[in-house]
Amino acid sequence: MPEVETAEPMLRVERLTKTFRIKSAALFAPPMELKAVNDVSFQVREGETLGIIGESGCGKSTLGKTLLRLIEPTSGRIFYRNRSLTELSRGEMKALRKELNIVSQDPYSSLDPRKTAGYLIEEPMTIHGIGTKKERKERVTELLNMVGLDYYHATRYPHEFSGGQRQRLNIARALAMNLKLIVCDEPVSALDVSVQAQVVNLLCDLKKKLKLTYIFISHDLSVVKYISDRIAIMYLGKIVELGDEAEIYAAPLHPYTEALFSAIPPESPFEEKRKIRLTGEVPSPMNLPRGCAFSTRCPRCEPRCREEVPELTGVGHEVACFLAPVQP
C-alpha cells in the first residue's frame, strides 16, 4: 500500500527493450534477434509491491535484471527518483546499488560455498566501504536477527543451512545496505510450501519495518496475489495487463490473464473451475507473431490482432488488447 501518494513515482520505466543476439545454427547466417523485453513501460510507487507474473521465457527475470542494469538495456529509459539510470556511469551506478538490490531465485547457487554466512553478509558493506570493521560485525548480528537467524549462524557455511535459511541469508545480504527497492526474482519458488510461507511472511514484515518497495517476480499466482498491491502480467516480453491486484483478479481484461487464472489448480476438492484451455504453447521469442504476441493462442483472435500490435492503454487498470472492453 502506498504510504504517501506522491506525484512522482519511485521508479519509472519507459519503453524498455532488451534484445539478445543469438548466433544462428548455420555458419554464415546473420545472428537472430531475441526480444526478451519488448517495449515495456510502467511505474512503481514508493512503498508498494509490484508483482510481475508470467510463464517461463516471458522475460520477467530479464526485466528484473535490466531494471538494475545488471543486464544493459538495448533501448528505453529507467528513472529512479528522477535520475535516469541508463545515463549513469559505472561508478554512479555502483553508489546507487546501495539503494537497489536483487534477491535471486536459487538459494543454493547464489551463495559462495567457501565463505561463512557472516562474511557473505558483511561483503556488500566491505565493497561499499561502510563503517569500521567492528561496526560491520555488529551490523551482521543485527541483520541475522532481522531475518530470523541467530548470531552464532555467522560462523557457519552455506551448506549447513536449509533452503529457507539460505534464502534468509540472501535477504540479509540484500538488506546490508540502506536499501529502498528490492527486485525479488522468484525468491520462494525453490522452497517447500511451509518454508515458502515463512519467507513470504518475512518479506512482508521487513517491508513494513523498513519501508521497502518490492518488485516481486514469480510464476506462482497465489503468492503474487498475496504479496502484491499491483500486478503486471507479462507474455512474450510484453506487459499485457497491469493494474490493482484486487481488480485484476476480480475482472481480468486480457484473454491471456483469464486463461492463466483458470489454469491455477483448484483450492479445494469442491471447487469447479471454469476452464479456458489454451492450445499449444508459447511461441519462440526469436520468431514473434507479426501482430499481437498472443494472437497465435488467443481464443478470441480477430483479423486485426494478427496485423497490429496493441498498446497498453487505460487508466489505473491498463490492458493491451483490441478486444478488451473500453473503460470509462
Binding site: 510463464e55 511451509s194 498475496y226 489454469a263 491455477i264 489448480p265
Partner: protein, 348 residues
C-alpha cells in the same frame, strides 16, 4: 484390450488394486541408516487416483519408487507388503518384476527434459516399450505407437514419430513420456511430480490429459506431488506423508473438510489463497509450521512431528503414534486424536 481395463472408474470403486501396508524402505549409508520410508500404508481402488503429498525429503518419491522396486544399491525394503492384485511385489523375483514394470505399472517422472533419450527418435522410444512387453510385428508396433501418441494429443502423430526429443517443447515431451507410460495399457500409473517442471497453462493441459486417460482407460493413478492444488484437481484420495510416515490418509473431500493431523492443518493453512479477500494494509500473515523436519536417521522413537507441533504433549516425545482409522476410511497417526480426547484445529 485386456480384461479389467474396460471397467468404468465408478463401477470398480470398491475393488482394491493396490494395498500397501506398513512399508519401510531404508538406506544404509556410511553415516547411519536413513529411514526414508518408515511406515506407509494406503489402499488404491481400481480406476481410482491417489495423491501422495509431503514436503521435499518426506519420502514420497522413495515410497513410489519402492512400489516399482526401483531403488539404488544401498536402499532396501526392510518391512511391509505391497499387494498388487493380491501379489506381494516385495517378494516378487527381479525377473518377474521386469514384466510388471511398464506393462502392469508404469511411471512418469518429473523432468521431461532428461527422461527421454536425446539420440533416439521418439517413435523408436515408444516402440521400444511396446516390443519389450508384447510380441508385435514392426507394422503393429508402429501403429500402436501412433495410437498412443494420438491418445495423448500430439498433433500429426505419424510425422512426429520421426522427430527427436529436442524438437519438442517441455509440455510436448511430457506428453510423449505419458504416451510411453500408457502404450502397454498399464493398470497403474505412478506419476512423480509430473507437472512440477511445467508452466501453469501447460500444467493444466497435462492434468486434463491425465484425468481423461484415467476415465477412458480405467487406469489407476498415484500422483506424487507437493502441490495440493494439483491433488484436488485429479485425486479422489490423499495420503499425507511426513518424515517417511503416513500421517493421514482419507478421501480428498474428507481431508479438506475435516483434516485430523496437526501437520495436515499446517500444510493447508500455509497455502496462500486466491479466494481470500484481503483488506488493504492488514494482510494476515500466512500460517507457518515453525522448525524443520527431523533427521531421518534419528526418527522412529517418537512422533516425528513432535518438535514442530503446537499441540504436543509428553506422550508425543515417548511413543510412536499408530495409524488408526478414526472415521470410516479416514486414518491419522496422532496420539491425541487416537486417545479419544480430540484436538480441534485452531483457526489460522
Amino acid at each position: 484390450m485386456r480384461t479389467g481395463m474396460r471397467q468404468n472408474a465408478n463401477e470398480a470403486a470398491g475393488e482394491t488394486l493396490l494395498r500397501v501396508r506398513d512399508l519401510r524402505t531404508h538406506f544404509f549409508t556410511g553415516s547411519g541408516v536413513v529411514k526414508a520410508v518408515d511406515g506407509v500404508s494406503f489402499d488404491l481402488a481400481r480406476g481410482g487416483a491417489l495423491g501422495i503429498v509431503g514436503e521435499s525429503g518426506s519420502g514420497k518419491s522413495v515410497a513410489s519408487n519402492s512400489i516399482m522396486r526401483l531403488l539404488p544399491k544401498n536402499g532396501r525394503i526392510v518391512d511391509g507388503s505391497i499387494l498388487f492384485e493380491g501379489r506381494d511385489l516385495v517378494e516378487v523375483r527381479e525377473k518377474d518384476m521386469l514384466k510388471i514394470r511398464g506393462q502392469e505399472i508404469s511411471m512418469i517422472f518429473q523432468d521431461p527434459m532428461t527422461s527421454l533419450d536425446p539420440v533416439f527418435k521418439i517413435g523408436d522410444q515408444v516402440i521400444e516399450v511396446l516390443r519389450a512387453h508384447r510380441r508385435l510385428s514392426n507394422a503393429e508396433a508402429w501403429s500402436e505407437a501412433v495410437k498412443a501418441l494420438t491418445m495423448v494429443g500430439i498433433p500429426e502423430p505419424e510425422k512426429r514419430m520421426n522427430s527427436y526429443p529436442h524438437e519438442f517443447s517441455g509440455g510436448m515431451r511430457q506428453r510423449v513420456f505419458i504416451a510411453m507410460a500408457i502404450a502397454c495399457r498399464p493398470k497403474l500409473i505412478i506419476a512423480d511430480e509430473p507437472t512440477t517442471a511445467l508452466d501453469v497453462t501447460v500444467q493444466a493441459q497435462v492434468l486434463d490429459l491425465l484425468v481423461d486417460l484415467q476415465r477412458e482407460m480405467g487406469t489407476s493413478v498415484i500422483l506424487v506431488t507437493h502441490n495440493l492444488g494439483v491433488v484436488w484437481s485429479l485425486c479422489g484420495a490423499v495420503m499425507v506423508m511426513y518424515a517417511g510416515k503416513t500421517v493421514e490418509y482419507a478421501t480428498a473431500k474428507d481431508l479438506y473438510r475435516n483434516p485430523l493431523h496437526p501437520y495436515t492443518w499446517g500444510l493447508l493453512n500455509s497455502m496462500p489463497r486466491l479466494g481470500a479477500g484481503k483488506e488493504k494494509g492488514k494482510e494476515k500473515p500466512l500460517a507457518i509450521i515453525p522448525g524443520t523436519p527431523p533427521d531421518l536417521r534419528l526418527t522412529a522413537r517418537n512422533c516425528n512431528f513432535h518438535n514442530r507441533c503446537a499441540y504436543r504433549g509428553d506422550v508425543c516425545k515417548e511413543e510412536v503414534p499408530p495409524l488408526i482409522e478414526l472415521e470410516p476410511g479416514h486414518f491419522a497417526a496422532c496420539h491425541f486424536q487416537t486417545s479419544g480426547g480430540r484436538l480441534t484445529r485452531k483457526e489460522a
